[in-house]
Amino acid sequence: MSVDVTTKIELETIGLQAYFGAVRAVHGVSLRVPRHQLTALIGPSGCGKSTFIRCLNRLHEETPGARAEGQVLLEGEDIYRRGVDPVLIRRRIGMVFQRPNPFPAMSIFENVASGLILAGVKDRRVLDPVVERSLKQAALWDEVKDQLKKPGTRLSGGQQQRLCIARALAVDPPVLLMDEPTSALDPISTARVEELLIDLKKSVTVVMVTHNMQQAARISDQTAFFLMGEMVESGATDAVFTNPKDSRTEQYITGRFG
């Protein structure tokens, strides 16, 4: 791996396997995610990259019949160790989904504050600055600062997705997982989210699934290529795209399949 050895590893998977019932969707993936970098997971649809990312905050196991094996180390601590509460893990690893999913019955403010409110923070003097900070981080503040009481679902698709990013950031997670965050957005909104991600990775470690190779090339520092449940190759984005080690990676990025 051509990642700078001085960079600290934030998240690491060791032999991670994921199953749906008897079907194995992810086959023994070992990946190191360096701190404050953006790691992109690419590959054709159905290759297991989404399942993989959902194992990183233990969300995979919430699907009926699904389970995961292996290790996922968050700052060196295995989140699959017995006795670890997934609720606490998920507070440290935020997630943004394919489609914007603000809570429909909540206002913009409540949406952003929901993670904190769940964790027992009710004091407006604490919530107000956090909501403002998160919305600013998500580059949404200027657009919504005068309508914080409106339902989150009134916003446009791109704004909703940034609202979801703000919601994830409000609990101040060191890691942010993004599962094709721009696939449901128009090109302009996509560009805004990408800008935002470049800014965001100064302070947060981002793991992002994308089916858009240009996107991976544009904004990621590290890229991992998935195929049929396996991780074929991973490394610095430049290296993977200009000089792939595996012929399958080369075929994929030159557009011969997928």
Binding site: D85, V87, R91, L116, A119, G120, V121, D172
Partner: protein, 296 residues
Amino acid sequence: MKVSPWFDRWRKWKSRAALLLLVGGCGLAVLPLFAILLHLIRQGASALDWAFFTQAQKPVGELGGGMGHAILGTLAQVGLASLLGIPLGLACGIYLSEFGARERQGAPGTRERFASPVRFALELLASTPSILVGVFVYGVIVVPMKKFSLMSGALALMLILLPLVARTSEELLRLIPQHLREAGLALGLPRWKVILSVVLRSAWPGVWAAILLAMARIAGETAPLVLTSFGNPSFSHAWDQPSASLPLQIYTYAISPFEEWHRMAWAGALTLVLTVLVLNAITRISGGSHERRRHD
């Protein structure tokens, strides 16, 4: 972000307790079914004998007797109601689905001006408390005839059956894809033939299941019969005379002060419930998957 570990532990326990309460609620929801079935079998099975199915009500004080007359009365009234209500209900269902398309959905057929008010009327009829159907039939049939009769009971049941059949058959016919109709029309078949032999036939398993369920439902109706067929202690099934029926006889037996009659009531209820449940179970397990049950 720092959160007190105590609070997190509290949340965890709260979550567990809440989920446990949900499961408890679910238990409470199904408990009555078992309780009722248990009591029906315990109290009713012993009175189920040959005489129960063949004899009529005996005068107070005499042992024995049965509910044969009531079973026959129910069969007669449900049969008559179905004979009238099923064709009428199907006709309404076909009318609504084939000629009364709602604007928003892909519209099969032309749009009839009548359709919305008819749909409205059927929904209202379906939502009306069944006792009011009895009050209505009492006013238009029983009062002019100056007597309770099997026929008025059957008519009341028919009015309950009609919206059930019409509304489910409309929904089921609507599910038949438009291209099947077009294929039929393209063969040069007249529209009525396409509707009957292509559309209705494709939807038939579901429609049939819906009809059976509707019949099971009216077989257990009691309230409208109190005002129409009234009940009759003996075998008498002239169309213009008061007639017994199983649910009505259960009611009569149940509110009587006699031990022996209570036993009969339980046995009758057991018979009724078994019939209704078996009909329901069969239609749901076999053709029932076609049918989306409406709860409105």
